[in-house]
Amino acid sequence: MAHPYMANSTPDVQSEMLAAVGADSIGELFEQIPEGHRLSRPLKLPQALSSEVALQRHLGELLSKNESCQETLSFLGAGCWQHHVPAACKEVVGRREWLTSVFGSPMSDHGRNQAWFEFCSQLGELVGMDLVGMPVYSWGCAAGHAIRLASRLNGRREVLVVRAIDPERLSVIRNYCETPEMASHIKVTLVDYEPDSGRLDLSDLARKLSANTAAAIYFEVPSYVGIIDGQAAEISRLAHAAGAEVIVGVDPISLGVLAGPADYGADIVVGSIQPLGVPMNCGGGCGGFIASRDEARYAREYPTFLVSITDTVEPGERGFGLTLFHQTSYGMREKGKDWTGNSTYLWTIAGAAYMAMMGPQGFRDIGELILRQAHFAASLLGGIPGVRIVFPSHFFKEFVVNFDGTGKTVDAIDKALRAEGIFGGKNLSREFPELGQSALYCVTEIHSRADLERLAAAVGKAVRA
């Protein structure tokens, strides 16, 4: 029976093609593979579900075993955030033309290339940077590439990284920079944070910068523990004085209310694209961007695709093409800048539509809504006996909640919350033991006041239990 995905799985078509080839059987065509290389037994795979009815039922049964953040009230964030994804974003990004596109010419892929350029353009407005590359796999990957880029720029082989960082992201950065056995490694030095505010410890930074050896400093606004560090300009000044590049990681959804990183001295900006119209997808919605000053010395070190607007041979007409393609690994193999491959480009289409629909006022509104709701939630939780907000001021959408005073572990609280249909914040107790039994809670525009009060009531009940 012909398989619905394969037009040529009918015997007569195959006979026609075989006759044209001059072969008696398809098996003959594999003559290059020596007999001794071949699999000698049939594969043991589950029975094919070749009818859509059977396949859809099977997948539906499996997926229904999951409890989504639609049915369960969730306060999980930590690098993957539940923001509202406008229906129009879903419709745009689901168009088969983008979904299935391969890599055509600037003319045949004109629309997609324009959408890519529009993503980069709008992101450039948010972060205040003129040069924006096509995204890489994740925020951590973007940070890793940016650090390597900075190291290539100034020839130094150390990066100072704020210690209040997502351990997953730090692990990615370490994989991009180390290991020490390799001659080319970049040393990752952590800079401490102030225990009462969560801000970067400037004296620790000054100590570690003093040797003038750092290629770059990398810090985040807001930080992993949620803090908007008011010392950002001072951090940049200290780094620049030591000849280091300033790399800032940002959450782009905050940039309607927070200053663009260029305003406080960033040379290179990285961050996540997931908040811009991409569902969490169990972490599969992530992608990372890289932006910088539009100077040739930065551009010539980018490992990513750069899509530039340009003219066509028809006067007055515009098109879009890749600039500096040759310096990527596609052009230069091991001599290229890091490596380039398939990444997360489809999400740029969602991001372009998202930013265009939000506009400047949308970003301002969402920023203010999130800021206020997060602070409101923190004040409710902080009012529960034994519960403490660890860094109580100047946070954006995430904040650290400590349960030491309740005598309960985060795991115990989470278990009790799950029984109430709530996912509590991410447990930090293993990764940041100095914070005790703490969790990182995330509040966004999807939460209502009633949701926040329900959370506070459930936490109150859990700590009393």
């Binding site: 995905y5 699999l39 309607g256 169990c282």
Partner: protein, 516 residues
């Protein structure tokens, strides 16, 4: 030659979105702020430290929802992609089943958070484990992970695993060389270099692959790993591959099989049985999940038991039908990317593999190789087309690299001109070749199992027609495309720092202001 279709791309002269809109328009309204929340939190600006508030709003367009939808629908219409015929070689393009998109968009997947308790994600963990088992059976490897964000990222993951493996044995400082071939995908060389290895590149010999002697001369106790495709992008299979692996293992190195060209060998052989220690599959291509113009991609990475301790965490583990995430792996390299990968793509690949079954997978491989050989027969009858490595007369696998050198010499029409002309007939650009071009004026079509014989014939008919045009009216081809959304790019600005512009801000500053 009769069946050439009329085709013309839509032309919308669509402005760049940053040029569109009117002050005050909105595409998204947010929930009104609750009065209790407002009064409890005071002025929003007071929640931001001094100097960190935004002073001037970002210069984003102001548009209504329908304007945005119209704009992006028009741009999508000006994107040919696989809405037509795209025999894009070295990528193994597949049909992306509609049902898989439908299922992956369900909230039970789209609205999952990776830090949910595993108890609340049993379905997705079961799917991930299920695909792991399928890929183990297809490759003979002992364990798969899906964290890598693409095929190149899987190659990087392997470079990291290689570092960890040799470091654990105290040999990393000495073992700093990775061997590959000039025909291996550039990412193999590039990721090895990015991970800190020195890259040793073997050249091809007359038979289409490097000789065993060349490999023997390259290996030593400095060899960390061999990273290689097989078949390569010319459709040529290296019959000495087992001996190669023995040689590399003999000096203590690892062997990585980049399965970018898996269709030619799918179900026919298993990487582990050839002796490879690790391999990579691209789920966004080979396993039916969409390529999306360049991702979300997944590099499924599989390895032997000996390398498994170094895999990135977390690993999905199964015990008595219950699924969990294992983080407690002390020798793990950690992460090459946050979370566990592009999960919807993993689900789509699982669905595709389940819909095919063992027989379907075998047939897909058969059809792709049959279609390639069928194409070859017809393409070589076209004036100006020759095949790479003409002395190798064995049948190629799922793709063949050709050359238009003859045409270029005889008519002045280059392979890029031909590529541009083909899109005039609703055929998307073919793949030329990875760098460096060993074959002059190269092109590499790959028929795969999705396109019908009629589609493949149409593709060939169009190339035949363009060959006629090249020999009769070369200007027509050189000035192509004529039926596309835009005309050929004037690419002189693209590599000029004074004129390149990856954002509208840069374009305004550098180009528009100069033009007044």
């Amino acid at each position: 030659m009769s069946g050439i279709r009329k085709y013309h791309a839509p032309v919308w002269s669509e402005p760049v979105i940053t040029e569109m809109g009117r002050a005050g328009r909105r595409g998204v309204l947010l929930p009104a702020l609750d009065e209790t929340v407002r009064s409890a939190t005071g002025d929003a600006q007071s929640l931001i430290p001094p100097g960190m508030g935004r002073q001037t709003p970002p210069e984003l367009p102001e548009l209504s929802e329908p304007e945005v939808l119209h704009h992006y629908t028009r741009l999508s219409q000006q994107t040919l992609g696989m809405t037509s015929i795209s025999l894009f070689g070295t990528c193994t393009m597949k049909y992306n089943p509609a049902v898989n998109e439908l299922m992956a968009a369900r909230p039970e997947l789209a609205d999952l958070h990776p830090y949910q308790h595993p108890e609340t994600m049993q379905g997705v963990l079961e799917i991930i484990h299920g695909l792991d088992l399928i890929l183990r059976e297809l490759s003979g490897m002992d364990r798969f992970v899906f964290q890598a964000g693409g095929g190149a990222d899987a190659a990087y993951l392997h470079a990291c695993v290689t570092r960890a493996y040799h470091a654990a044995r105290g040999e990393l400082e000495r073992r700093n060389e990775v061997i590959t071939t000039i025909q291996a995908h550039p990412c193999n060389a590039a990721t090895a270099a990015a991970a800190g290895f020195k890259v040793v590149t073997l050249m091809l010999e007359e038979n289409g692959y490097p000789s065993v002697d060349a490999l023997k001369a390259a290996v030593s106790d400095r060899t960390a790993c061999l990273m290689i495709n097989n078949p390569d992008d010319m459709g040529i299979y290296n019959p000495d591959i087992k001996e190669w692996i023995d040689i590399v293992h003999g000096v203590g190195g690892l062997c990585f099989y980049d399965h970018a060209n898996f269709n030619g060998v799918m179900t026919k052989l298993r990487a582990r049985e050839l002796g490879f220690d690790a391999c990579m599959f691209m789920l966004h291509k080979t396993f039916g999940a969409p390529k999306g113009g360049g991702g979300p991609a997944v590099g499924a990475y599989g390895c032997s038991e000996a390398l498994a301790p170094f895999l990135p965490t977390p690993l999905v583990v199964e015990k008595d039908g219950a699924y969990d995430l294992d983080e407690d792996r002390p020798q793990s390299i950690g992460r090459v990317r946050e979370f566990w990968g592009n999960v919807p793509q993993v689900v789509k690949a699982y669905a595709w593999a389940r819909s095919m079954g063992a027989e379907g997978l075998a047939e897909a491989s058969d059809i792709s190789v049959l279609a390639n050989n069928y194409m070859e027969k017809r393409l070589l009858a076209i004036r100006g087309v020759t095949r790479s490595n003409p002395t190798i007369d064995k049948r190629r696998l799922e793709m063949t690299r050709y050359s238009l050198e003859t045409m270029q010499r005889e008519t002045g029409v280059s392979v890029i001109d031909v590529q541009n002309r083909m899109v005039d007939f609703g055929i998307d650009a073919f793949w030329l070749s990875h760098e460096p071009w060993i074959v002059p004026e190269p092109f590499t079509p790959e028929a795969g199992e999705m396109y019908s014989k009629e589609d493949i014939d149409y593709w060939i008919d169009v190339l035949a027609r363009i060959s006629d045009e090249a020999y009769s009216t070369p200007e027509l081809v050189i000035s192509a495309p004529h039926n596309q959304a835009i005309h050929k790019l004037d690419s002189t600005a693209l590599d000029d720092p004074d004129r390149w512009a990856t954002t509208w801000r840069a374009y305004k500053r550098k180009v528009l202001s100069a033009r007044g």
